[in-house]
Amino acid sequence: MSSQSASGSGKVAKSSSSKLSTAKTEIEFRVALIVLVMVALIPAIVSNPYWLGVLIVSMYFAILAGAWNLLAGYTGQFSLAPATFAMIGAYSTGLLGTYFGVPPLLGILAAILVAGLIGLVLGRIVLRLKGPYLALTTLSFAEILRLIAANSINITRGDLGLGVPGLFNSRIGWYYVFLGVLAVLLIALYALLRSKAGLFLQAIRDDEVAAARSGVDVVFWKTAAFALSAAASGFAGALYAHFAELVTPELGLIGQTGLIVSMTVIGGIGTLVGPIVGAFLVYVLSEWLRDVGGYQLVVFALLVIIFARFFRDGLWGIARFFMRRARST
Protein backbone atom coordinates (compact mmCIF):
# COMPACT_ATOMS: atom_id res chain seq x y z
CA MET A 1 0.00 0.00 0.00
CA SER A 2 2.66 2.47 0.89
CA SER A 3 5.45 1.66 -1.51
CA GLN A 4 5.79 3.78 -4.60
CA SER A 5 4.78 2.23 -7.85
CA ALA A 6 7.66 1.51 -10.15
CA SER A 7 5.77 2.81 -13.13
CA GLY A 8 6.76 6.17 -14.46
CA SER A 9 4.95 7.56 -17.39
CA GLY A 10 3.95 4.38 -19.06
CA LYS A 11 1.04 2.97 -17.14
CA VAL A 12 -2.37 4.55 -16.68
CA ALA A 13 -2.90 5.39 -13.01
CA LYS A 14 -5.99 4.25 -11.16
CA SER A 15 -8.85 6.68 -11.36
CA SER A 16 -9.73 7.07 -7.69
CA SER A 17 -8.27 9.82 -5.54
CA SER A 18 -5.04 9.52 -3.66
CA LYS A 19 -4.58 6.29 -1.87
CA LEU A 20 -2.29 7.43 0.85
CA SER A 21 -3.63 10.45 2.64
CA THR A 22 -7.23 9.32 2.84
CA ALA A 23 -5.94 5.89 3.71
CA LYS A 24 -4.20 7.44 6.72
CA THR A 25 -7.41 9.06 7.85
CA GLU A 26 -9.35 5.87 7.23
CA ILE A 27 -7.10 3.82 9.46
CA GLU A 28 -7.27 6.45 12.17
CA PHE A 29 -11.05 6.43 11.94
CA ARG A 30 -11.28 2.69 12.26
CA VAL A 31 -8.96 2.57 15.23
CA ALA A 32 -10.89 5.40 16.86
CA LEU A 33 -14.14 3.48 16.38
CA ILE A 34 -12.57 0.41 17.93
CA VAL A 35 -11.52 2.48 20.92
CA LEU A 36 -15.06 3.79 21.27
CA VAL A 37 -16.49 0.31 21.04
CA MET A 38 -14.16 -0.77 23.82
CA VAL A 39 -15.30 2.19 25.88
CA ALA A 40 -18.91 1.17 25.20
CA LEU A 41 -18.25 -2.28 26.61
CA ILE A 42 -16.51 -1.14 29.78
CA PRO A 43 -19.70 -0.78 31.88
CA ALA A 44 -20.12 -4.53 31.52
CA ILE A 45 -17.01 -4.93 33.64
CA VAL A 46 -16.88 -1.76 35.67
CA SER A 47 -19.88 -0.66 37.67
CA ASN A 48 -18.18 1.59 40.20
CA PRO A 49 -19.92 4.94 39.76
CA TYR A 50 -16.73 6.85 40.61
CA TRP A 51 -14.83 5.28 37.73
CA LEU A 52 -17.76 5.63 35.38
CA GLY A 53 -17.70 9.29 36.31
CA VAL A 54 -14.00 9.46 35.52
CA LEU A 55 -14.64 7.97 32.12
CA ILE A 56 -17.48 10.39 31.48
CA VAL A 57 -15.20 13.32 32.19
CA SER A 58 -12.61 11.73 29.92
CA MET A 59 -15.19 11.75 27.16
CA TYR A 60 -15.92 15.41 27.89
CA PHE A 61 -12.23 16.10 27.39
CA ALA A 62 -12.08 13.87 24.34
CA ILE A 63 -14.68 16.07 22.65
CA LEU A 64 -12.82 19.24 23.63
CA ALA A 65 -9.50 17.81 22.50
CA GLY A 66 -11.02 16.71 19.22
CA ALA A 67 -12.50 20.14 18.65
CA TRP A 68 -9.17 21.83 19.41
CA ASN A 69 -7.43 19.35 17.14
CA LEU A 70 -9.68 20.39 14.26
CA LEU A 71 -8.64 23.99 14.73
CA ALA A 72 -4.99 23.54 15.65
CA GLY A 73 -3.99 20.18 14.26
CA TYR A 74 -5.84 20.26 10.97
CA THR A 75 -6.14 24.00 10.27
CA GLY A 76 -3.01 25.21 12.01
CA GLN A 77 -4.66 27.80 14.26
CA PHE A 78 -3.27 27.31 17.75
CA SER A 79 -5.93 28.98 19.83
CA LEU A 80 -5.54 28.96 23.62
CA ALA A 81 -9.27 29.32 24.26
CA PRO A 82 -10.80 25.82 23.89
CA ALA A 83 -11.84 25.62 27.54
CA THR A 84 -13.45 29.04 27.24
CA PHE A 85 -15.94 27.82 24.67
CA ALA A 86 -16.88 24.91 26.90
CA MET A 87 -17.47 27.45 29.64
CA ILE A 88 -19.55 29.58 27.29
CA GLY A 89 -21.68 26.57 26.40
CA ALA A 90 -22.11 25.63 30.04
CA TYR A 91 -23.14 29.13 31.08
CA SER A 92 -25.46 29.47 28.08
CA THR A 93 -27.58 26.53 29.06
CA GLY A 94 -27.20 27.31 32.77
CA LEU A 95 -28.26 30.94 32.53
CA LEU A 96 -31.09 30.22 30.10
CA GLY A 97 -32.40 27.54 32.40
CA THR A 98 -32.04 29.56 35.58
CA TYR A 99 -33.40 32.89 34.39
CA PHE A 100 -35.72 31.97 31.54
CA GLY A 101 -36.80 28.49 32.46
CA VAL A 102 -35.52 27.07 29.19
CA PRO A 103 -35.64 23.25 29.28
CA PRO A 104 -32.22 21.55 29.22
CA LEU A 105 -32.47 20.09 25.73
CA LEU A 106 -33.24 23.48 24.22
CA GLY A 107 -30.58 24.99 26.45
CA ILE A 108 -27.99 22.62 25.03
CA LEU A 109 -29.05 23.50 21.50
CA ALA A 110 -28.79 27.19 22.33
CA ALA A 111 -25.37 26.59 23.85
CA ILE A 112 -24.12 25.08 20.60
CA LEU A 113 -25.40 28.07 18.66
CA VAL A 114 -24.09 30.70 21.08
CA ALA A 115 -20.65 29.13 21.32
CA GLY A 116 -20.51 28.66 17.57
CA LEU A 117 -21.50 32.26 16.94
CA ILE A 118 -18.93 33.66 19.36
CA GLY A 119 -16.36 31.36 17.79
CA LEU A 120 -17.30 32.69 14.38
CA VAL A 121 -16.81 36.28 15.50
CA LEU A 122 -13.52 35.56 17.27
CA GLY A 123 -12.30 33.61 14.27
CA ARG A 124 -13.11 36.50 12.00
CA ILE A 125 -11.31 38.93 14.27
CA VAL A 126 -8.11 36.92 14.56
CA LEU A 127 -7.88 36.05 10.86
CA ARG A 128 -4.72 37.96 10.17
CA LEU A 129 -2.94 36.80 13.32
CA LYS A 130 -0.48 33.97 13.40
CA GLY A 131 1.57 31.97 15.89
CA PRO A 132 2.34 33.93 19.04
CA TYR A 133 -0.07 36.76 18.20
CA LEU A 134 -2.95 34.34 17.77
CA ALA A 135 -2.01 32.53 20.97
CA LEU A 136 -1.81 35.75 22.96
CA THR A 137 -5.09 37.12 21.62
CA THR A 138 -7.01 33.94 22.34
CA LEU A 139 -5.33 33.69 25.73
CA SER A 140 -6.41 37.18 26.68
CA PHE A 141 -9.89 36.50 25.33
CA ALA A 142 -10.01 33.41 27.53
CA GLU A 143 -8.86 35.26 30.62
CA ILE A 144 -11.20 38.22 30.09
CA LEU A 145 -14.22 35.95 29.79
CA ARG A 146 -13.24 33.94 32.82
CA LEU A 147 -12.76 37.11 34.86
CA ILE A 148 -16.14 38.41 33.73
CA ALA A 149 -17.80 35.14 34.63
CA ALA A 150 -16.10 35.06 38.01
CA ASN A 151 -16.74 38.69 38.88
CA SER A 152 -20.35 38.94 37.68
CA ILE A 153 -21.51 37.44 40.92
CA ASN A 154 -25.01 38.83 40.64
CA ILE A 155 -25.63 36.91 37.46
CA THR A 156 -23.43 33.86 37.59
CA ARG A 157 -22.87 33.52 41.32
CA GLY A 158 -19.17 33.60 40.48
CA ASP A 159 -17.05 30.92 42.06
CA LEU A 160 -19.94 29.62 44.11
CA GLY A 161 -21.32 28.18 40.95
CA LEU A 162 -24.59 28.25 39.13
CA GLY A 163 -26.96 25.38 39.85
CA VAL A 164 -28.17 23.60 36.76
CA PRO A 165 -30.92 20.99 36.46
CA GLY A 166 -29.81 17.48 35.63
CA LEU A 167 -31.22 15.63 32.64
CA PHE A 168 -31.70 12.26 34.25
CA ASN A 169 -30.42 10.46 37.25
CA SER A 170 -28.65 7.50 35.77
CA ARG A 171 -24.89 7.63 35.54
CA ILE A 172 -24.96 4.88 32.95
CA GLY A 173 -27.37 7.01 30.99
CA TRP A 174 -24.94 9.89 30.98
CA TYR A 175 -22.14 7.51 30.04
CA TYR A 176 -23.85 6.54 26.84
CA VAL A 177 -25.05 10.05 26.09
CA PHE A 178 -21.49 11.36 26.19
CA LEU A 179 -20.25 8.36 24.25
CA GLY A 180 -22.96 8.84 21.67
CA VAL A 181 -22.13 12.52 21.21
CA LEU A 182 -18.42 11.71 20.99
CA ALA A 183 -19.09 9.08 18.36
CA VAL A 184 -21.34 11.35 16.32
CA LEU A 185 -18.77 14.15 16.39
CA LEU A 186 -16.02 11.71 15.41
CA ILE A 187 -18.03 10.55 12.42
CA ALA A 188 -18.82 14.14 11.47
CA LEU A 189 -15.15 15.08 11.67
CA TYR A 190 -14.22 12.09 9.55
CA ALA A 191 -16.75 13.04 6.92
CA LEU A 192 -15.47 16.60 6.96
CA LEU A 193 -11.87 15.50 6.51
CA ARG A 194 -12.72 13.27 3.59
CA SER A 195 -14.60 16.03 1.83
CA LYS A 196 -13.04 18.94 0.05
CA ALA A 197 -13.20 20.82 3.36
CA GLY A 198 -10.56 18.49 4.71
CA LEU A 199 -8.31 19.25 1.76
CA PHE A 200 -8.79 22.99 2.16
CA LEU A 201 -8.20 23.11 5.93
CA GLN A 202 -4.98 21.15 5.69
CA ALA A 203 -3.87 23.27 2.76
CA ILE A 204 -4.41 26.36 4.88
CA ARG A 205 -2.42 24.76 7.67
CA ASP A 206 0.50 23.97 5.39
CA ASP A 207 0.66 27.23 3.46
CA GLU A 208 -2.02 29.90 3.44
CA VAL A 209 -0.52 31.76 0.52
CA ALA A 210 -0.37 28.65 -1.63
CA ALA A 211 -3.92 27.81 -0.61
CA ALA A 212 -5.14 31.22 -1.72
CA ARG A 213 -3.24 30.85 -4.97
CA SER A 214 -4.99 27.56 -5.60
CA GLY A 215 -8.33 29.26 -5.14
CA VAL A 216 -9.20 28.29 -1.55
CA ASP A 217 -11.39 30.86 0.21
CA VAL A 218 -9.05 31.19 3.17
CA VAL A 219 -11.22 33.63 5.11
CA PHE A 220 -14.26 31.40 4.91
CA TRP A 221 -12.54 28.17 5.89
CA LYS A 222 -10.47 29.59 8.73
CA THR A 223 -13.56 31.20 10.21
CA ALA A 224 -15.58 28.03 9.67
CA ALA A 225 -12.97 25.97 11.51
CA PHE A 226 -13.14 28.37 14.44
CA ALA A 227 -16.94 28.29 14.48
CA LEU A 228 -17.19 24.49 14.24
CA SER A 229 -14.54 23.97 16.90
CA ALA A 230 -16.27 26.43 19.21
CA ALA A 231 -19.71 24.91 18.63
CA ALA A 232 -18.47 21.42 19.44
CA SER A 233 -16.76 22.70 22.58
CA GLY A 234 -19.91 24.52 23.61
CA PHE A 235 -21.86 21.31 23.10
CA ALA A 236 -19.51 19.45 25.42
CA GLY A 237 -19.66 22.24 27.99
CA ALA A 238 -23.44 22.28 28.00
CA LEU A 239 -23.64 18.52 28.42
CA TYR A 240 -21.17 18.70 31.26
CA ALA A 241 -23.21 21.44 32.91
CA HIS A 242 -26.27 19.20 33.10
CA PHE A 243 -24.17 16.25 34.16
CA ALA A 244 -22.36 18.01 36.99
CA GLU A 245 -25.44 20.13 37.74
CA LEU A 246 -23.11 23.03 38.47
CA VAL A 247 -21.36 25.65 36.33
CA THR A 248 -18.35 27.56 37.63
CA PRO A 249 -15.73 29.76 35.97
CA GLU A 250 -13.24 26.98 36.68
CA LEU A 251 -14.40 25.39 33.44
CA GLY A 252 -12.57 28.15 31.61
CA LEU A 253 -9.29 28.11 33.52
CA ILE A 254 -6.09 28.20 31.50
CA GLY A 255 -5.16 24.99 33.29
CA GLN A 256 -8.09 23.28 31.58
CA THR A 257 -6.78 24.44 28.22
CA GLY A 258 -3.42 23.10 29.32
CA LEU A 259 -5.00 19.70 29.88
CA ILE A 260 -6.72 19.77 26.51
CA VAL A 261 -3.52 20.71 24.72
CA SER A 262 -1.55 18.06 26.61
CA MET A 263 -4.04 15.35 25.77
CA THR A 264 -3.98 16.23 22.09
CA VAL A 265 -0.22 16.51 21.84
CA ILE A 266 0.45 13.31 23.75
CA GLY A 267 -2.16 11.38 21.79
CA GLY A 268 -1.07 12.76 18.46
CA ILE A 269 -1.95 16.17 17.09
CA GLY A 270 -3.41 16.28 13.62
CA THR A 271 -4.77 12.74 13.81
CA LEU A 272 -8.33 11.50 14.33
CA VAL A 273 -7.47 9.05 17.05
CA GLY A 274 -4.86 11.07 18.97
CA PRO A 275 -7.17 13.36 20.95
CA ILE A 276 -9.44 10.51 22.00
CA VAL A 277 -6.64 8.25 23.14
CA GLY A 278 -4.84 11.17 24.74
CA ALA A 279 -7.91 12.28 26.66
CA PHE A 280 -8.67 8.87 28.12
CA LEU A 281 -5.06 8.12 28.90
CA VAL A 282 -4.24 11.40 30.55
CA TYR A 283 -7.43 11.75 32.54
CA VAL A 284 -7.83 8.16 33.67
CA LEU A 285 -4.18 7.91 34.63
CA SER A 286 -4.27 11.20 36.46
CA GLU A 287 -7.18 9.98 38.54
CA TRP A 288 -5.73 6.51 39.07
CA LEU A 289 -2.32 7.77 40.12
CA ARG A 290 -3.80 10.48 42.28
CA ASP A 291 -3.82 8.10 45.23
CA VAL A 292 -0.49 6.55 44.41
CA GLY A 293 1.77 9.55 44.41
CA GLY A 294 0.32 12.46 42.59
CA TYR A 295 3.21 13.20 40.23
CA GLN A 296 1.04 12.48 37.22
CA LEU A 297 0.57 16.10 36.17
CA VAL A 298 4.31 16.61 36.31
CA VAL A 299 4.82 13.57 34.16
CA PHE A 300 2.18 14.61 31.63
CA ALA A 301 3.63 18.07 31.29
CA LEU A 302 7.05 16.54 30.79
CA LEU A 303 5.55 14.23 28.18
CA VAL A 304 4.10 17.21 26.34
CA ILE A 305 7.54 18.76 26.16
CA ILE A 306 9.21 15.54 25.09
CA PHE A 307 6.57 14.69 22.53
CA ALA A 308 6.56 18.17 21.06
CA ARG A 309 10.33 18.05 20.84
CA PHE A 310 10.83 14.52 19.57
CA PHE A 311 7.56 12.82 18.67
CA ARG A 312 5.42 15.31 16.91
CA ASP A 313 2.84 12.68 16.01
CA GLY A 314 2.40 11.58 19.58
CA LEU A 315 1.52 8.11 20.78
CA TRP A 316 -0.37 7.39 17.61
CA GLY A 317 2.69 8.25 15.57
CA ILE A 318 4.77 5.88 17.68
CA ALA A 319 2.15 3.16 17.26
CA ARG A 320 2.12 3.67 13.50
CA PHE A 321 5.89 3.45 13.40
CA PHE A 322 5.83 0.05 15.05
CA MET A 323 2.93 -1.11 12.88
CA ARG A 324 4.91 -0.24 9.77
CA ARG A 325 8.01 -1.96 11.13
CA ALA A 326 5.99 -5.07 11.92
CA ARG A 327 4.48 -5.11 8.46
CA SER A 328 7.73 -4.80 6.61
CA THR A 329 9.47 -7.65 8.42
Partner: protein, 239 residues
Protein backbone atom coordinates in the same frame (compact mmCIF):
# COMPACT_ATOMS: atom_id res chain seq x y z
CA UNK B 1 -9.78 42.17 -27.57
CA UNK B 2 -6.94 41.86 -25.09
CA UNK B 3 -7.06 39.16 -22.52
CA UNK B 4 -5.00 41.21 -20.12
CA UNK B 5 -4.71 45.00 -20.04
CA UNK B 6 -2.10 46.52 -17.77
CA UNK B 7 -2.41 50.31 -17.66
CA UNK B 8 -0.13 52.70 -15.83
CA UNK B 9 0.62 50.40 -12.89
CA UNK B 10 2.70 52.07 -10.19
CA UNK B 11 3.96 50.44 -6.98
CA UNK B 12 5.96 52.21 -4.34
CA UNK B 13 7.50 50.79 -1.19
CA UNK B 14 8.40 53.76 0.98
CA UNK B 15 10.90 55.74 -1.05
CA UNK B 16 11.47 53.05 -3.66
CA UNK B 17 9.40 52.88 -6.85
CA UNK B 18 9.37 49.18 -7.64
CA UNK B 19 7.02 49.43 -10.61
CA UNK B 20 6.94 52.65 -12.56
CA UNK B 21 4.00 53.29 -14.86
CA UNK B 22 3.94 49.93 -16.60
CA UNK B 23 1.54 49.54 -19.52
CA UNK B 24 1.08 46.66 -21.92
CA UNK B 25 -1.58 44.41 -23.42
CA UNK B 26 -1.58 40.65 -23.78
CA UNK B 27 -3.75 39.08 -26.43
CA UNK B 28 -5.33 35.63 -26.06
CA UNK B 29 -2.91 32.86 -26.89
CA UNK B 30 0.27 34.91 -26.50
CA UNK B 31 3.34 33.49 -24.78
CA UNK B 32 5.05 36.63 -23.53
CA UNK B 33 8.49 36.59 -21.94
CA UNK B 34 9.10 39.04 -19.10
CA UNK B 35 12.80 39.68 -18.68
CA UNK B 36 15.07 42.17 -16.97
CA UNK B 37 17.92 42.28 -14.47
CA UNK B 38 17.41 41.49 -10.81
CA UNK B 39 15.46 44.16 -9.00
CA UNK B 40 13.80 45.45 -12.13
CA UNK B 41 10.33 44.90 -10.71
CA UNK B 42 9.27 41.73 -12.54
CA UNK B 43 8.23 39.80 -9.45
CA UNK B 44 6.50 42.84 -7.96
CA UNK B 45 4.55 43.24 -11.17
CA UNK B 46 3.59 39.59 -11.05
CA UNK B 47 2.55 40.00 -7.41
CA UNK B 48 0.23 42.79 -8.45
CA UNK B 49 -1.19 40.75 -11.32
CA UNK B 50 -1.91 37.81 -9.03
CA UNK B 51 -3.41 39.88 -6.23
CA UNK B 52 -0.59 39.55 -3.73
CA UNK B 53 0.11 43.28 -3.77
CA UNK B 54 -2.03 46.34 -4.41
CA UNK B 55 -0.80 48.96 -6.88
CA UNK B 56 -0.60 52.59 -5.84
CA UNK B 57 -1.96 53.66 -9.21
CA UNK B 58 -3.13 52.22 -12.51
CA UNK B 59 -5.55 49.49 -13.40
CA UNK B 60 -5.62 45.93 -14.61
CA UNK B 61 -8.35 44.47 -16.79
CA UNK B 62 -8.82 40.78 -17.33
CA UNK B 63 -11.20 39.99 -20.18
CA UNK B 64 -12.29 43.59 -19.99
CA UNK B 65 -13.22 43.46 -16.30
CA UNK B 66 -11.31 45.30 -13.62
CA UNK B 67 -9.22 43.29 -11.15
CA UNK B 68 -9.06 46.12 -8.64
CA UNK B 69 -8.82 44.93 -5.03
CA UNK B 70 -9.29 41.26 -5.81
CA UNK B 71 -7.61 38.74 -3.54
CA UNK B 72 -5.47 35.92 -4.94
CA UNK B 73 -8.22 33.35 -4.46
CA UNK B 74 -10.71 35.53 -6.29
CA UNK B 75 -8.28 36.00 -9.15
CA UNK B 76 -7.71 32.27 -9.21
CA UNK B 77 -11.43 31.82 -9.80
CA UNK B 78 -11.22 34.38 -12.61
CA UNK B 79 -8.51 32.28 -14.16
CA UNK B 80 -5.25 33.91 -13.08
CA UNK B 81 -2.84 31.23 -11.91
CA UNK B 82 0.56 32.12 -10.50
CA UNK B 83 3.67 30.08 -10.02
CA UNK B 84 5.97 31.42 -7.30
CA UNK B 85 9.69 32.01 -7.60
CA UNK B 86 10.27 30.23 -4.27
CA UNK B 87 8.28 27.07 -4.71
CA UNK B 88 5.18 26.81 -2.58
CA UNK B 89 3.51 23.44 -2.15
CA UNK B 90 1.59 21.78 0.67
CA UNK B 91 4.43 19.91 2.28
CA UNK B 92 2.45 17.62 4.52
CA UNK B 93 0.01 16.57 1.84
CA UNK B 94 0.89 14.16 -0.91
CA UNK B 95 1.30 15.02 -4.56
CA UNK B 96 -2.19 13.99 -5.55
CA UNK B 97 -3.80 15.98 -2.78
CA UNK B 98 -1.78 19.05 -3.69
CA UNK B 99 -3.35 18.91 -7.12
CA UNK B 100 -6.80 18.10 -5.79
CA UNK B 101 -6.85 21.22 -3.62
CA UNK B 102 -6.55 23.42 -6.68
CA UNK B 103 -9.05 21.41 -8.65
CA UNK B 104 -11.72 21.24 -5.95
CA UNK B 105 -11.21 24.87 -4.95
CA UNK B 106 -11.83 26.00 -8.48
CA UNK B 107 -15.04 24.08 -8.82
CA UNK B 108 -14.22 20.61 -10.07
CA UNK B 109 -16.13 17.71 -8.59
CA UNK B 110 -14.32 14.90 -6.81
CA UNK B 111 -14.20 12.54 -9.78
CA UNK B 112 -13.29 15.20 -12.33
CA UNK B 113 -10.54 16.54 -10.09
CA UNK B 114 -9.15 13.08 -9.52
CA UNK B 115 -9.09 12.33 -13.22
CA UNK B 116 -7.41 15.60 -14.04
CA UNK B 117 -4.84 15.10 -11.28
CA UNK B 118 -3.99 11.68 -12.65
CA UNK B 119 -3.65 13.04 -16.14
CA UNK B 120 -1.32 15.80 -15.01
CA UNK B 121 0.76 13.43 -12.89
CA UNK B 122 1.27 11.31 -15.93
CA UNK B 123 2.07 14.19 -18.25
CA UNK B 124 4.55 15.64 -15.77
CA UNK B 125 6.05 12.20 -15.04
CA UNK B 126 5.40 12.46 -11.30
CA UNK B 127 3.85 9.00 -11.14
CA UNK B 128 6.75 7.58 -9.17
CA UNK B 129 6.24 10.03 -6.34
CA UNK B 130 2.48 10.47 -6.43
CA UNK B 131 1.99 9.08 -2.92
CA UNK B 132 4.87 10.91 -1.27
CA UNK B 133 4.31 14.02 0.80
CA UNK B 134 5.27 17.11 -1.18
CA UNK B 135 7.86 17.96 1.47
CA UNK B 136 9.78 14.82 0.55
CA UNK B 137 10.18 15.71 -3.12
CA UNK B 138 13.32 17.07 -4.68
CA UNK B 139 13.40 20.76 -5.56
CA UNK B 140 12.76 20.11 -9.22
CA UNK B 141 9.90 17.73 -8.52
CA UNK B 142 8.32 20.35 -6.28
CA UNK B 143 8.50 22.85 -9.09
CA UNK B 144 6.87 20.38 -11.45
CA UNK B 145 4.15 19.85 -8.88
CA UNK B 146 3.54 23.57 -8.45
CA UNK B 147 3.50 23.78 -12.21
CA UNK B 148 0.81 21.13 -12.36
CA UNK B 149 -1.23 22.87 -9.68
CA UNK B 150 -1.51 25.89 -11.97
CA UNK B 151 -3.06 23.78 -14.71
CA UNK B 152 -5.60 21.67 -12.86
CA UNK B 153 -8.18 23.99 -14.34
CA UNK B 154 -6.88 25.58 -17.55
CA UNK B 155 -6.34 29.20 -16.52
CA UNK B 156 -7.17 32.27 -18.58
CA UNK B 157 -3.57 33.34 -18.07
CA UNK B 158 -0.66 31.52 -16.45
CA UNK B 159 1.98 33.64 -14.69
CA UNK B 160 5.18 31.63 -14.38
CA UNK B 161 7.89 33.15 -12.17
CA UNK B 162 11.24 31.64 -13.13
CA UNK B 163 10.01 28.06 -13.48
CA UNK B 164 13.30 26.87 -14.91
CA UNK B 165 15.59 28.24 -12.24
CA UNK B 166 17.84 25.57 -10.74
CA UNK B 167 15.91 22.75 -12.37
CA UNK B 168 17.30 19.52 -13.76
CA UNK B 169 17.45 19.53 -17.59
CA UNK B 170 15.07 16.59 -17.83
CA UNK B 171 12.42 18.41 -15.87
CA UNK B 172 13.09 21.58 -17.84
CA UNK B 173 12.34 19.56 -20.92
CA UNK B 174 9.09 18.26 -19.46
CA UNK B 175 7.96 21.76 -18.49
CA UNK B 176 9.02 23.16 -21.84
CA UNK B 177 7.09 20.50 -23.74
CA UNK B 178 4.06 21.11 -21.54
CA UNK B 179 4.16 24.86 -22.17
CA UNK B 180 4.60 24.37 -25.88
CA UNK B 181 1.68 21.98 -26.18
CA UNK B 182 -0.66 24.14 -24.14
CA UNK B 183 0.41 27.18 -26.09
CA UNK B 184 -0.49 25.43 -29.28
CA UNK B 185 -3.98 24.89 -27.84
CA UNK B 186 -4.33 28.60 -27.16
CA UNK B 187 -3.13 28.97 -23.54
CA UNK B 188 -1.89 32.46 -22.67
CA UNK B 189 1.32 32.83 -20.64
CA UNK B 190 3.55 35.42 -19.08
CA UNK B 191 6.88 33.78 -18.46
CA UNK B 192 9.49 35.41 -16.24
CA UNK B 193 12.87 33.91 -16.84
CA UNK B 194 16.58 34.58 -16.97
CA UNK B 195 17.12 31.57 -19.19
CA UNK B 196 17.54 33.39 -22.51
CA UNK B 197 17.70 30.33 -24.78
CA UNK B 198 14.37 29.18 -23.40
CA UNK B 199 12.85 32.62 -23.74
CA UNK B 200 14.01 32.81 -27.35
CA UNK B 201 12.69 29.33 -28.04
CA UNK B 202 9.27 29.67 -26.45
CA UNK B 203 8.33 33.35 -26.51
CA UNK B 204 7.53 35.19 -29.67
CA UNK B 205 7.38 38.44 -27.76
CA UNK B 206 9.36 39.80 -24.85
CA UNK B 207 8.86 42.68 -22.44
CA UNK B 208 12.01 43.94 -20.76
CA UNK B 209 11.88 45.82 -17.48
CA UNK B 210 14.56 47.85 -15.79
CA UNK B 211 14.35 49.88 -12.60
CA UNK B 212 10.59 49.42 -12.51
CA UNK B 213 9.82 50.57 -16.01
CA UNK B 214 9.32 48.84 -19.35
CA UNK B 215 12.24 49.59 -21.65
CA UNK B 216 11.32 47.29 -24.50
CA UNK B 217 8.22 45.46 -25.70
CA UNK B 218 8.70 43.79 -29.05
CA UNK B 219 9.34 40.46 -30.77
CA UNK B 220 11.93 38.59 -28.73
CA UNK B 221 14.85 38.78 -31.15
CA UNK B 222 14.44 42.54 -31.48
CA UNK B 223 14.32 42.96 -27.71
CA UNK B 224 17.46 40.94 -27.18
CA UNK B 225 19.42 43.02 -29.65
CA UNK B 226 18.08 46.28 -28.24
CA UNK B 227 20.97 48.37 -26.88
CA UNK B 228 19.02 49.66 -23.91
CA UNK B 229 18.24 46.08 -22.91
CA UNK B 230 21.85 45.02 -23.22
CA UNK B 231 22.96 48.02 -21.18
CA UNK B 232 20.42 47.21 -18.51
CA UNK B 233 21.84 43.72 -18.10
CA UNK B 234 25.49 44.71 -18.32
CA UNK B 235 25.02 47.79 -16.20
CA UNK B 236 26.80 50.22 -18.45
CA UNK B 237 27.34 51.08 -22.10
CA UNK B 238 27.56 48.13 -24.45
CA UNK B 239 30.98 47.80 -26.01
Amino acid sequence: MSLLSVRGIVKRYGGLTAVDSVTFEVAPGELVGLIGPNGSGKTTLLNILSGHADPNAGEILLDGKSCHGLKPEQLAHRGVMRMFQLTRVFRRMNVVDNLLVAGRAQGLGAAAAAAQANALIEELRLGVVRDLDAGQLSGGQMKLLEFGVCFMVPPRIALLDEPFAAVHPTMKEIMGAFIRSRHESGQTFILVSHDMPVVVELCHRAICMNAGGVIADAPTRDVLSNTRVIEAYLGGHAA
